[in-house]
């Protein structure tokens, strides 16, 4: 394999990984605070590019404005889904909330099929996002640069919120014990809503960047990226924000390199990724950056 091809594939891996990273940060954050695997994350992710698409198409907003509106609307969808499907089950066994999350996921998918129709739509790309940067024979999409910058910014903001603000303190206390936090005067509902808003906004940014990179949107587009982001979160250590980012980059890279080194088996790429999930769960369930948690008896 030539050096150029290897470098090109590293760029490809980075490009895909940066998108996974962005989605899995939102995934892991909701889990870290609520111990809830939000399977609807992939569908929230899918809604954002649709909001953007219709914002431009119907309301003729400039693309940066519809970008903001789409993120806002997606965050609201996240809050509403928590309010409707998860909050009433907060005292129920964890498995009920998980099942409810799967329900929300299918509900949003099918709703999208009914409302937006199942035919894929072409996603409008502003000229900047069509630009290709060329270094020798290596070609890099501008979305790669955008997604690396955006995910780094969000990571910093997130870490700041979680560790330096009062809301962050409330989030961390809720993740340890909801009841005690409430007794200490934490507004639990508001904090959880805020968590969902941030998680969904991250999914929205991920979804929009995804649409800019792969300019085609359809109701089931969130399924695979959602699952991959979940794997990335588990690989990095679920609940751990920098871990999710690391996991995302690693997963993107592994996927691309798998195809690059085993082109004959390229069709089994997803199977390979899922076997990584199984191996991680078997041998290092806490993930790369996760801490071993001892259950107190």
């Amino acid at each position: 394999m030539s050096l150029n091809l290897i470098l090109q594939n590293l760029a490809n891996g980075l490009s895909l990984g940066s998108l996974y990273a962005l989605i899995s940060i939102g995934y892991t954050m909701v889990y870290g605070i609520l111990r809830l695997i939000n399977f609807a994350h992939g569908e929230i992710f899918m809604l954002a590019p649709y909001f953007l698409y219709y914002g431009v198409l119907i309301f003729h907003l400039p693309w940066w404005a519809s970008f903001l509106v789409a993120i806002l609307l997606t965050a609201v969808t996240g809050i509403v889904s928590e309010r409707v499907a998860y909050r009433p089950l907060r005292e129920a066994p964890r498995i009920s909330v998980l099942i409810s999350a799967i329900g929300v996921s299918y509900f949003l998918q099918n709703l999208a099929i009914v409302v937006f129709s199942g035919i894929p739509k072409s996603f409008h790309r502003p000229n900047f996002f069509k630009t290709i940067f060329q270094f020798g024979e290596i070609r890099i999409q501008s979305t790669l640069i955008a997604s690396v910058i955006v995910s780094t910014i969000f990571l910093i903001i997130l870490i700041y919120i979680i560790y330096k603000t009062k809301t962050g303190l409330a989030m961390r206390s809720i993740s340890v014990d909801i009841e005690t936090s409430r007794l200490m005067g934490v507004n639990v509902n508001r904090t959880i809503s805020f968590t969902f808003a941030i998680g969904s906004a991250l999914a929205a940014v991920g979804g929009i960047l995804w649409g800019l990179r792969f300019p085609q949107i359809y109701p089931l587009m969130g399924m695979m990226p959602g699952l991959k982001a979940f794997i990335a979160a588990v690989v990095g250590g679920i609940g751990n924000v920098p871990g999710a980012m690391l996991g995302g980059f690693l997963l993107g890279m592994v996927e691309i390199l798998y195809v690059a080194f085993l082109p004959a088996l390229s069709g089994y790429r997803d199977a390979f990724v899922f076997s990584i999930l199984i191996l991680i769960l078997l041998f290092r369930p806490e993930g790369i950056l996760g801490k071993k948690v001892q259950e107190k008896v």
Partner: protein, 376 residues
């Protein structure tokens, strides 16, 4: 509601064709197509073709033809029921089941057992006719397209190095690719890169980097148009400059909408395209398009031309058989040779499949244009 709709359709047809039933000398031909359900749009296109052909040739051997339509509701089980009903209750001497191979397979099963000839206009799955001596089709089968495209790549485009990008989750894609590879290598060409993906994948950068690195001059990607649109865009972004080639699933305007300029120059095989350049080569096609436009005031679709051909194929066989005996009609159908059909001359082979030319179309300025006709 569904039932009512079905009854209404049935009644409408009774009104249209009912008058003929009053006459003693009628011969019944059955149609089982999806009028309701997921495939209803396809069923409607089929009907347009049958009706147009019927209006042109409403009699055979001095008897009036009566078309009897039964809705198969886009359902595999209903598809079998519909055909048995046509045969047992309506006593038809020939059946048409076109839309969806999944409907034509069970329908053909029933007709074959009953010994009634069945023609499918559009079912491309090889299983439709296999082992059923009473089942025929007016279209070519999927793998044939792979062969056609390989020959076109090597002979007409003069390309010696091609790459394949195959959807391993689709029989269609795997079938076309295998035949493409076989033919291309037999001709002396080389498949320099053979990579795979799964339906619904969105990132193809690794496979495409591989293809670009292999110096392939053409990429054959027979797959679902949505996936192919993404491949086409990413391929150009990564610097692939070769030709894009595919099968009839790509002959879909949505592909152009999705891939935009990346789809320019893409060539795919198909059954028919409403383009002057093609119509000039086939007077039957020209006649079909003229009649179709007069009647429906729109541009025809490949589905309608194939059902139009199916009806004419059946009538031709009855005429040549000189009787209404289903077995005699079957033998006449099996012996069809160079029948001048609108979708290209049809010869029926020993399996019951049509051997006919494929039409190649190319995307030029955001539109499908006639490129070439490749004979079998």
């Amino acid at each position: 509601m569904k039932r009512n709709l079905f009854l209404l359709t049935l009644m409408a047809f009774m009104i249209i064709f009912g008058l003929t039933t009053l006459a003693q000398d009628v011969v019944k031909l059955g149609i089982a197509e999806p009028m309701t359900g997921a495939m209803a749009v396809g069923g409607e296109l089929c009907m347009k073709g049958y009706q147009l052909a019927y209006e042109q040739n409403p009699t055979v051997l001095g008897k009036k033809v009566e078309l009897v339509l039964v809705d198969n509701k886009s359902d595999k089980v209903e598809a079998a029921n519909a055909v048995s009903r046509l045969i047992e209750k309506e006593r038809v001497i020939g059946v048409f089941v076109s839309y969806g191979s999944s409907m034509a397979i069970p329908g053909g099963e029933v007709a074959n057992k009953a010994g009634i000839p069945l023609i499918s206009g559009t079912a491309t799955n090889p299983l439709v006719t296999q082992g059923k001596e009473y089942v025929f089709r007016a279209c070519f089968i999927d793998p044939f397209q792979g062969e056609v495209m390989a020959r076109y790549t090597y002979d007409n485009l003069g390309i010696k190095k091609a790459a394949l990008l195959v959807d391993i989750a689709q029989d269609y894609s795997v079938g076309l690719a295998n035949f493409y590879k076989k033919t291309f290598e037999e001709l002396g060409g080389e498949i320099v890169c053979d990579v795979k993906y799964n339906t619904g994948d969105q990132d193809f950068s690794a496979q495409l980097s591989q293809i670009i690195n292999s110096d392939a001059e053409a990429l054959f990607f027979p797959g679902y148009f949505g996936d192919v649109a993404l491949i086409a865009i990413q391929g150009r972004e990564l610097g692939f400059t070769g030709k894009y080639l595919g099968g009839d699933t790509l002959h879909n305007p949505t592909l152009i909408e999705l891939a935009k300029e990346a789809a320019e120059g893409l060539i795919c095989s198909t059954f028919f395209v409403d383009d002057e350049a093609l119509l000039k080569t086939n007077p039957e096609a020209e006649k079909f398009v003229r009649l179709y436009r007069e009647k429906y005031n729109e541009s025809p679709n490949a589905v309608s031309i194939l059902t139009y051909d199916s009806y004419n194929l059946m009538l031709d066989a009855i005429t040549r058989a000189g009787s209404f005996n289903p077995a005699a009609i079957r033998d006449a159908l099996a012996a069809t040779k160079d029948f001048p059909a609108a979708g290209g001359a049809i010869t029926i082979n020993e399996i019951g499949d049509s051997v006919k030319p494929a039409v190649l179309v190319k995307i030029v300025n955001g539109d499908f244009k006639y490129e070439a006709t490749v004979n079998p």
